[in-house]
Symmetry: C2
Subunit: 497 residues, 2 copies
């Protein structure tokens, strides 16, 4: 593929002068339109050393409104980044809707320099391919424009440029041993680049090879490519507004009721046994928290369940056993302005624990498949797509070594009523109940359909759901805590998924 | 002061059992009330090694709703933190309204261990005192509750505890050479602690010394102290709602008009000269950007000015000369939900550049004294206070070594009209003008009063305003760029403020 690239392509100064300025104006205009349309744009620059990435990025930036973009120079991950899943540092740098992120090197580092220099085991960079494709598809599906450039020069041209740089006292720091070593391995790299281009050139995030021998040519091609991508995105019909769901889910419930109906809600536990077991489990988990810290294992505990299902009390019994310096509870409510301006998984990526720490989500990314689906806060296409996206998200966490425990706190409709009424009667519980809880209760059946779908389609071998029989709070608390203790022990013994 | 502390204070198990549980319930209730009232709570734990900070924090956490607080263990600053002003890492960890942040060690490190171990020069820790008091006052003024604990034990008690820890194979890692060295210097530390308690016990953020010999006593005193602080905060009258200002500022304008009226708006520059000088300046700044990166000097450029004053174009000419990997432009619009839940300076602290980088603010923290004042988005007490807060904020930046340049882009009312009309006429400029711009224009005189106050009261020796005569865009761009180049050169030559 790269063999066939015509590296003699060039533009004369005159040709360049004529075409470039109008292109820059056009790009500037499109940047504004993309802002109005709320389209996030991601531009990735990869290429050979001395191929001219820096000056090309400068040129791109100089044509843009400086308030609408950010350049991210990517080098080797720092400690904080190494303690998070591979894509975390890119997720947290994604552009908000209407803005542009320019990556000077990118998530492809893992399949290029880290691969060729054998800095990561084969398993890691092979997995990186999958994760990269998932990552880009997820972003494109939510409307992001992704443009990826490979700046190509020949080995000979690279050598010429290195020599020239070395003669310039101000720039010679750019060429060191590392660069010459890479230069000598040009062929080896070339194979890795070829494979990368083949594996990751997708319809939603294609690579563009830029013949970079002639800088004027490179500038024009870069600008034209971004213009084309933005124009295409702006031609797309605006995404459908979600419609408030008119109970279309109601009918499906009956067919699918089996799963939830089979749950034995009579399971219970006496107070004495509860107290005893809780004490033991809390001692265990305190010890385990220390060990996962030493071993640098990240832990994510995700709580979902019916309103009044006992999430709060359950989380409290779990955290009472933990050293508060090692965990954090993240309550998930309606997204903020900033969160709405990003991919819906962005706000969860932000909170992924550093290796060795525990994060407990009180409600989770499953909101997409529950409240957002049932209340019509997202389109059907969006929640349908979310099953896959969530499974991918969780696999990425688990592949990184996360312990991931997911709870569905289940109670019967009658038990919920009993708890609602109690909350209204008892003074110090009143704050827990709102009109919205009663409104949600009316939609119990619709929610039930969504819950069944969710449990079936997102129970994976690597991230299974634990359904917690919740009518008896004592039983539920012990079961949840036991499940967490078990999962942490397994991880420490290397029996993880 | 600490000599007089009665370290024999204790509670028997029976006494403790009786009092502690009701206190925990009360605290839990107050946490909920503070959430409803939107009060942020900050609890600081400092104290001798082995005084029991860890277990005390555990006990506090176990009584709280885990969704409402976060514990921040503070150790030596990492690289990223060292490249920012001292208080930056605490600002970014501040609790949102209604939540609690618990600091396990804190910003007092600089006047304790860093001081006594001579890790920072005297100048630094002396300045730290001022900055800490400013920091706490600013937070308290916006309604934060600040509780600070010093956990006190005698030298003898510390020795006893160290010996006991050393015998425990699971805990002996807690006592190393460092701890014994500190122990031997108990007296030296004691003097530093005394001074700290004296200097920083303020009405808005008092220290509480906890006699920590007896753990039960310590728990009860800690809990009671937090309860008292929250109760007092909840008794305070709710902060006044800002009233939409009914032009009370109008009258003051005439007296103060001199400053703005003296600006010579006839200053201008021909296109030829402009192009030539711009080219030179852009070359200079590219070089300077590189040098401040090497020397790790942070640069902040703050743009304020009339609507249509030319901020956008001015920033563009500045950034066109810069390598985009070294700078970022932060456009400031209405605050997001998350930003509103924090101190108004929080969102600017977040964007303070890492040493060696440049951040350009397109509108700034001066919004408090301009739009928020004039439109009545904050109370008079709030904007009156802001003069001092902003001066303190800027002094902290400059003390850290920041280059700070502040521009007021000034144009005449007639010139603004001309530009507004042009924008409405010219197709590709239409997007720049909105109804709000016209509405703001009607309030020109009120804004003028606010601008004059701002320029007079926040022009300091360390952070002076540069008024840019803006009727001629060419002149304005060259002047701004020249000012930045000059400031960067001065900093590199050590002639900074």
């Amino acid at each position: 593929m790269l063999e066939k690239v015509d590296l003699t392509k060039s533009l004369s100064k005159e040709e360049y002068k004529e075409v470039f300025e109008p292109l820059q104006w056009r790009l500037n205009e499109l940047q504004r339109k993309a802002r109005s349309a709320g389209i996030p744009t991601i531009v990735v620059f990869e290429g050979w050393d001395a191929a001219g990435k820096g000056t090309l990025i400068n040129r791109l930036a100089s044509g843009l409104d400086p308030r609408g973009f950010k350049v991210h120079p990517i080098s080797a991950p720092n400690e904080d980044e190494r303690y998070h899943p591979y894509l975390w540092r890119f997720w947290t740098k994604l552009p908000a809707k209407g803005t542009m992120a320019i990556f000077d090197r990118s998530w492809y580092g893992r399949v290029l320099v880290e691969r060729v220099d054998e800095l990561t085991p084969e398993e890691d960079w092979r997995r990186a391919y999958e994760e990269i494709i998932e990552f880009e598809r997820q972003l494109a599906d939510e409307g992001a424009v992704i443009v990826k450039f490979w700046l190509h020069i020949s080995k000979k041209e690279q050598k010429k440029r290195f020599k020239k740089l070395e003669k310039n006292s101000y720039l010679k720091w750019k060429v060191g041993k590392e660069e010459w070593r890479h230069h000598k391995q040009y062929k080896k790299y070339l194979l890795a680049v070829e494979e990368m281009l083949e594996h990751t050139s997708t319809a939603f995030a294609p690579w563009t090879v830029i013949e970079a021998t002639n800088r004027r040519w490179a500038r024009v091609k870069m600008t034209e490519t971004i213009i084309d991508a933005l124009e295409e995105a702006l031609r797309r019909p605006a995404p459908a507004e979600p419609k408030k769901a008119e109970s279309p889910e109601g009918e499906r419930v009956s067919e699918r009721k089996t799963l939830l109906e089979h749950i034995d809600l009579s399971k219970s536990m006496e107070k004495d046994e509860y107290s005893k077991r809780l004490d033991h489990l809390q001692e265990d988990i305190f010890q385990l928290e220390h060990e996962i810290y030493i071993r640098r294992i990240p832990v994510i505990i995700a709580y979902e369940g019916w309103d009044a299902g006992g999430k709060g009390g359950n989380i409290k019994r779990l955290t009472n056993g933990l050293d508060p310096r090692g965990y954090e509870v993240i309550p998930i409510a309606a997204p903020t302005t900033e969160e709405k301006a990003h991919h819906y998984l962005w706000r969860f990526w932000k909170h992924i624990p550093k290796a060795g720490h525990i994060v407990i989500f009180d409600r989770t990314w499953y909101g997409r498949l529950l409240v957002e689906r049932v209340e019509g806060f997202c389109t059907e296409a969006e929640w349908q797509r979310a099953y896959r996206e969530i499974n991918e998200f969780e696999r990425q966490l688990v592949s990184f070594g996360c312990v991931l425990v997911k709870f569905w706190l289940h109670i019967s409709k009658e038990e919920q009523l009993r708890r609602f009424e109690e909350r209204e009667k008892v003074e110090h519980k009143k704050w827990k109940i709102t009109k919205e809880d009663w409104r949600n209760r009316e939609k119990w059946d619709r929610y039930k359909g969504a819950v069944v779908d969710m449990l079936q389609r997102t129970s994976t071998t690597y991230a299974p759901w634990t359904i917690v029989e919740g009518n008896c709070k004592y039983y539920a608390r012990v079961k949840a805590l036991e499940t967490v203790v078990e999962a942490m022990k397994n991880a420490l013994e290397g029996k993880g998924a």
